[in-house]
Amino acid sequence: MHASGTIYVAYGPPALAEMRRSVAGLWQFNDLDVAVIGALGTQLDLDGAQLIPFNQPGPGARWAKLNTDLLAPPAWRHILYLDADTRVLGDVTAPFAMLDDGFDLVLTPSQNQGADVLCHIGSDDRSDTIDALCNPEPLQLQAGVMWFDRVRCARLFAAWREEWKKHHAQDQGALLRALDREPVRVHILGRAWNGGSIVEHKFGKAR
C-alpha cells in the first residue's frame, strides 16, 4: 500500500469555507492526511491539514488543480483530489485499493453526455476536443473527484496542463484531449462516488 492523502484547492473565503465543510466530512469517515493548495499566508483553521502555498491559481484556480501531481506532499504516491464544494458522506478509501491493483486514475463520468457533452465549456474548446479525438461523442469525465497515482499519471498531468493552456478555461475538454495523448488505466465509478451517497457535490458553491 502506497502512502496516500487528500488534496484540495481553495482560494478565497467561499472556497475555504466549502473546503472546511468537505474536510469535516472526510475526517468523520476516513483517516486521511489533508493538504490544501492556496494563497501564501492562508489560515486554514484545520488542525492537522497542511497548506501548500501556490500563488498562480489561474482562472477558477484550475491551474493550481492541474498542478496537484507536482505540488502534493512528496511522500504521497496515491492522491485523492476533491473539489472544495464536495461533501464526503462515507468511506472513500476503496479507490486507493484500486490504484494498488494497478489502475492509474479512478473517477466518474459527467452527467453531461451525448448531445450535452462538454456543453458547459467554450465552443472553441469543445470543437477542439471533438476534433482532436475524432469523436463527436466522447464519454465526458468529471474531474472534481478523482484518485490517481502521481507517478503513473505524471505524463497525463503534463499533457493536461499543455492542453489546458490552449484555452485557459474549463479543464474537462483538456482532460479528454490529454487522455487521448497519454492514455492511462482508467477505472470509472458510479454516481455514488461523485454526486451521490458517498461524495455529494454542490457544484459551483465554492465560487
Binding site: A94, I130, C134, E182, P183, I188
Partner: protein
C-alpha cells in the same frame, strides 16, 4: 461509400462530377471519393475538417467484426451494407480477436454504424479497448452499475475482484479490442466465465477486464443507435 469534402493543402488534381479532371489549389475545397481522400490525406496533400467525415476515411484494412449471439447473422447484412470494406465474421464458438482490431459485436444491440470507424480509431491512440458503458436511463445521464445486475453469488464473486460494485459496467455486446496479450486474456477469461450457469455476461466481462486491465476508452450511451 460516397464522396467526401476535402480541403487541399497542395495542388490536387481530381475528377469533378462530370468526369473532368480539375486542378485545385491550396485552400480550395473539393469532393473526392473515399479512396482518393485517404490517399491525399496520407500524403499530406489534403485535410478533412469534419471529424466524423474524417473518421469515415480511416484505414480499416486491419479491422473486422466478429459477430456472436443469437442474431449474429444479421450483422453481416447491416454492417456489410454500411461499411462494405469491413470484414465481418460470425463465430458460433463465441467472441475472439480475429483481426488486429476487432469489434466484438452482438447484433441484438443497435449500434450507430457511423461511429464504428471512430471506435476502431480509438485503438490507434494508445487505448487497447473501447466499449460503451450501459445506460440506466434513456438519456444516458445515469448508468447501470454492477450492484444492479446478477445474482447475489455472481455479485459477490465480482466484488471480490473489483472491490466495489458501485461502478458502471461496460457492454460486452460492443467491444472494440486490439489484438494484444492483455485483450486476449480478457476475452479468454470472459468466454470461460460468461457461459457458466448463473453468471451474468456483463459482470463476467467486468471481472475479466478488471483482472487484466487493458487501457479502456469508455464510450457513452449515445453510441447506441437512436
Amino acid at each position: 461509400m460516397g464522396q467526401v469534402w476535402i480541403k487541399c493543402i497542395t495542388i490536387v488534381r481530381a475528377a469533378n462530377n462530370h468526369g473532368q479532371t480539375v486542378t485545385y489549389y491550396p485552400g480550395d475545397w473539393c469532393q473526392v471519393g473515399m479512396y482518393q481522400a485517404r490517399q491525399l490525406v496520407a500524403a499530406g496533400s489534403a485535410e478533412i475538417q469534419n471529424p466524423v467525415t474524417r473518421a469515415q476515411t480511416f484505414e480499416l484494412a486491419d479491422c473486422g467484426v466478429v459477430a456472436y449471439g443469437g442474431s449474429r447473422l444479421g450483422a453481416t447484412t447491416s454492417i456489410g451494407t454500411a461499411l462494405p470494406e469491413l470484414k465481418v465474421e460470425t463465430d458460433e464458438r463465441g467472441p475472439r480477436l480475429a483481426f488486429n482490431r476487432t469489434l466484438i459485436y452482438d447484433p441484438s444491440v443497435k449500434l450507430t454504424t457511423l461511429l464504428i470507424p471512430i471506435g476502431f480509431y480509438r485503438l490507434t491512440t494508445g487505448w487497447r479497448m473501447a466499449s460503451p458503458v450501459i445506460p440506466r436511463k434513456g438519456d444516458g445521464t445515469e448508468y447501470l452499475t454492477a450492484e444492479m445486475i446478477g445474482t447475489p453469488a455472481d455479485q459477490a464473486a465480482t466484488k471480490a475482484i473489483v472491490r466495489d460494485l458501485r461502478c458502471p459496467v461496460y457492454d460486452p455486446r460492443v467491444v472494440f479490442a486490439l489484438q494484444c496479450p492483455e485483450c486476449e486474456d480478457v476475452i479468454a477469461q470472459w468466454n470461460e466465465e460468461r457461459v457458466l450457469p448463473g453468471n451474468d455476461s456483463r459482470l463476467a466481462f467486468l471481472r475479466a477486464w478488471y483482472t487484466h486491465k487493458p487501457k479502456m476508452c469508455g464510450l457513452p450511451a449515445s453510441w447506441y443507435a437512436r
